[in-house]
């Protein structure tokens, strides 16, 4: 259908976008790779020569590496479980006829639009502060000793904060998926006497499987690089140093660029493993 003229024009029209992203990918990535094979300390001598894979082995064998991996997995896993389970339930609930559905929806998705530094600080101070925070007042009202949230229960606290931010995302996507469910099928199952639990596991959940997978994959990619929430609450203290945060500290705080870059390469590889699965699903959808 298209002429030769429009084809070459089309190529020119894609060019700026491809060029911009190509530059954005190739230059910083090759620099990170380059630094990762060097001993490079900008504040203590600068470029101290090639060291082969030493940064890679040192990054992994450092005492903070495995705790950081564990912290990352606990935060990502915890947030995923909470947001997917609650998100599914809320989506099913909002799909039912209720009074004031529009307002309920607006209230539930609101946290997603709060900037990460604000939600981190709101929770840290106005809610989790052990002396003046809202939760401390509640605990005291019941005669209990207020919890030192971010120092004594740092990971659960962070999971709570991040889940609060991401629950709307999961809910919205799952709600979109629930709404496309064929109601006749459900009614038929109901007539045949299938109990709600059976209907959920045999009809609703299989229908949602794809949307749940998409939610898990996209959230994983974003959650792996969670930064601001930790930056403003614990700054990596109390066992909240994730892989992303560890690399940030190596690169900018201790200015050990070689070591940090090796960590960066690990983070890129990790993100790509998740990305491959997400891309496969998105790609399949492209063909339809």
């Amino acid at each position: 259908m298209s002429t030769k003229h429009s084809r070459s024009l089309a190529r020119i029209m894609v060019a700026p976008a491809v060029f911009a992203l190509l530059v954005w990918m190739i230059i910083p990535l090759s620099m990170t790779l380059y630094f990762s094979f060097k001993k490079y300390l900008p504040l203590r001598g600068g470029d101290l020569g090639w060291v082969g894979f030493e940064n890679y082995t040192r990054f992994i064998s450092s005492s903070s590496f495995w705790p950081a991996v564990a912290t990352t997995m606990i935060i990502v896993g915890g947030v995923l479980i909470i947001t997917v389970v609650l998100g599914t339930l809320i989506a099913l609930l909002l799909d039912q006829p209720i009074w004031g559905q529009g307002i309920v929806r607006i209230m539930i998705i609101a946290p997603f639009f709060i900037m990460p530094t604000v939600s981190g600080l709101i929770w840290k101070n106005m809610f989790m502060d052990p002396t003046n925070g809202f939760l401390a007042h509640i605990w005291r009202a019941f005669g209990a000793e207020p919890i030192q949230w971010l120092s004594h229960a740092s990971l659960p606290s962070l999971i709570m904060i991040i889940s609060w931010q991401w629950l709307p995302f999961a809910t919205l996507i799952l709600l979109t998926a629930v709404q496309s469910l064929d109601s006749e099928q459900l009614e038929a199952a109901e007539m045949d006497g299938a109990k709600p639990i059976r209907r959920f596991f045999h009809i609703i959940l299989p229908h949602l499987a794809r949307a749940i997978t998409v939610v898990i994959l996209i959230q994983t990619i974003f959650l792996l690089s969670i930064f601001a929430e930790i930056f403003v609450t614990t700054a990596g203290a109390f066992g909240t140093k994730t892989l992303t945060y560890l690399i940030f500290q190596r690169v900018l705080e201790s200015q050990n660029v070689g070591l940090g870059s090796a960590g960066g390469v690990y983070a890129i590889i990790l993100a790509n493993i998740v990305a491959i699965f997400l891309m496969r699903i998105v790609g399949k959808n492209l063909d339809r």
């Binding site: 259908m1 024009l9 089309a10 190529r11 029209m13 894609v14 700026p16 976008a17 911009a20 992203l21 230059i27 910083p28 990535l29 620099m31 990170t32 809320i90 609930l93 799909d95 039912q96 004031g100 309920v104 539930i108 998705i109 609101a110 997603f112 639009f113 709060i114 900037m115 530094t117 604000v118 600080l121 709101i122 101070n125 106005m126 002396t131 003046n132 509640i138 919205l172 996507i173 109601s183 459900l186 009614e187 949307a211 998409v214 690089s225 930064f227 930056f231 403003v232 690169v251 660029v257 960066g264 983070a267 890129i268 993100a271 790509n272 990305a275 891309m279 998105v282 959808n285 492209l286």
Partner: protein, 276 residues
Amino acid sequence: MPRAVTTQKKILNSAISWALAIIIFFPIFWIVVLSFKTEGDAIRTPIEVLTSTWTFDSYAVVQERSDYFKHFSNSVIIAIGSTLLGIIIAVPAAWSMAFVPSKRTRGILMWMLSTKMLPAVGVLYPIYLIFIELGILDSRTGLVVILMLINLPIIIWMLYTYFKEIPAEILEAARMDGANLRSEILYILTPMAIPGIASTLLLNIILAWNEAFWTLNLTAAKAAPLTSFIASYSSPEGLFFAKLSAASVMAITPILIMGWFSQKQLVRGLTFGAVK
């Protein structure tokens, strides 16, 4: 799947939904309340907070003391600038991929998506270094470019899925009638594409407004948008609940309102069309 339900069930469902909505929304409600209190009242027990006097003082203090509006306008310029720049680059690209697809279109789209998966921290130092070399560290220009680049894949994908929905037959009919490419774009495509472009614009302004990795790491006093200005409250001195609340409320209100308008686009934009 709306189905008939009994009133009793509707009451129960409504009650649970409202309870959940109130719990989830409560932190936002609460900082709005605190922002209208004095610092002394803001740290009292919840009941004392609600019954104490209301005041606009915190808003006044925040604006006087810390160049609030400088940071606010930084946010506006960075969010809108990066989105517009992205749209200018993305519209032609998405248009040509949607209407003149080639064998490579699919590959290009997937590759663009893959750039979005690049963890920012992996290229933190190179970008930091490039910014220093170019003299754009702590500048709005630098952030406009970076935020444009990280959101470009989303912009292109959203526009692509919207453009895909414009029926190709309309274009062919126009061509038969002798429309050239210019009038095709101007009179047929643009009017049909505007809603999609508007939604893309909206969602990406939100994403850019809230971006908090590059804005925290690449700015200091000069170009800091609200994300990093608010972060400076993480090491407080003295009483500051009311002021932090006021600063937060001002930072989130415009985007919250925009966000409520963009619910539908959010799903499409952030799932790359995988869930519609």
